[in-house]
Subunit: 286 residues, 2 copies
């Protein structure tokens, strides 16, 4: 009863004649898989006026890319032989078709603004980073050295898609206060919202301060046009303060062996953290 | 003063030895482009212990894919010759690195829930589709025929990433009330939120009813596990009602020539709307 299934006009005739080649044909195949899947290569060929071999070439490529996947369907007739292959769009293929969670997040900010007023972006930024902070704090527990904490935080940012890494700056400067670590983020997974609402960068900076237990300074943000978000971590200044504390306590009283920053930077003297690219990102790259 | 720029340990030594081949090398190249861009092929080669030719092979492939792009940099020295090529990550490349607007939208629903209670998902769904409805209504203005309105709405859904199309059902059935159009959506750009909050599907169904000016019925949703979201549009029933109205007015009074549904289905008798794939989707497909 589906008249479209026996439509006299093949879909191919409706395809924009201005475009041609494999891209267009592949789109037509995918389009029909979306509409009619699970569908066989033979049925796709009939609908598209293509040979089954031509259709299979596109199906194989898209199967390889993970955009479509194969379902083996056994015929209801008894003794109908081996199951036949049907194609459906995969979860990955659904992703190729895109999403609109950015649009939804923007709309949520509007609705939240109606409810709580101008503080809506800050409320969302606080809540967003609170989720990250809880997890990060657990992973940082037990790491006392400030440089190591910054390295670990860079790794944690990478796992969440921020492409985190560090740069050691001025480590050969005899003035300890000039020695620092730059905690960098090469990518921002919420960049378009942060561009519109810089309070996201502010809340993230405050989170970094709390997690590293030092007063950090934001030097640059992608939201403001930089290639990389950079946060200045005053490693040398903290070490200087620790040394001064150590000297004072040595003259005043027996030294407290638990002073956290006394060992800051003792193990790490240079080098950088590589970006950790997630398996999903790897897939898109390859 | 950036000690990382003259780091004694090359990044290559830090790469997981368990993985190998082009994928890994390409990741390492991209990673350095993200961290150090704008950077030249020669500098990348030095950092990665690779020949410039090997680096360029990956850069060319990623430039072709649109993941990295070339910046021509002129040396500050006068008469330094032609500008040299530097590589940076592109907007497209930033997309490859992924986003977290879904996470942000989920968090926004939490914050909105704190502000307005259990009605938060409905409030967001209403606001989300209100934005679509305003635009769709403008595009549907002046189209009186119900089948044409459904076709146009399917196109509009496609432009917003819903992969819209229609199926004509029972059009050879002598019982007019059995004739219908299925307005289908092969993809849902907010599927994960709709799965958690089916009120999104409800609000969308009501929007379709208002836009088509008939009482539609949702037959299936992807959020509930179907391949395709299907909405039943009672084209035949509307035509029947229009004919009855026409008969009544013919016997009671002169016929009203503006009766909208009197011409329903007069032009379209079968066929289907192809999915419109946007240029951005095409890029990802090719």
């Amino acid at each position: 009863m589906y008249s479209s299934r026996s439509s006299a006009e093949p879909v191919s005739a409706q395809v924009d004649a201005g475009r041609d080649g494999d891209g267009t044909t592949r789109e037509r195949v995918l389009q029909l898989v979306v509409e009619e899947g699970p569908i066989s290569a033979a049925a796709l060929g009939r609908r598209l006026d293509l040979t089954a071999a031509a259709v299979r070439r596109h199906l194989d490529a898209m199967t390889e890319q993970g955009i479509v996947e194969i379902k083996n369907v056994t015929s209801r007739r008894k003794g109908a032989g081996r199951p036949s292959r049907r194609y459906v769009i995969s979860q990955e293929g659904q992703q190729v078709l895109g999403d609109d969670y950015l649009g939804l997040a923007r709309r949520a900010l509007d609705v939240l603004g109606d409810a709580v007023g101008d503080e809506a972006p800050r409320a969302l930024a606080e809540a967003y980073f609170a989720g990250h902070e809880d997890r990060y704090r657990q992973h940082l527990a037990g790491i006392d050295d400030l440089d190591e904490r910054a390295e670990r935080l860079a790794e944690l940012f990478s796992e969440d898609g921020f492409a985190g890494f560090t740069r050691k700056v001025g480590r050969d400067n005899p003035l300890l206060a000039m020695q620092s670590t730059q905690l960098c983020q090469g990518h921002c997974p919420v960049r378009e919202i942060a561009e519109a609402h810089p309070v996201f960068c502010e809340e993230e900076t405050e989170m970094i301060s709390r997690l590293l237990e030092v007063d950090v300074r934001r030097l640059s943000t992608q939201a403001a046009g930089a290639h990389v978000c950079t946060t200045h971590v005053p490693v040398g200044r903290e070490r200087l303060a620790a040394e001064q504390r150590a000297r004072r306590s040595a003259s005043d009283a027996p030294q407290d062996p638990t002073t956290r920053t006394a060992s800051a930077g003792s193990r790490l003297s240079g080098g950088r953290k590589r970006i950790v690219i997630s398996p999903r990102q790897q897939e898109r790259l390859s």
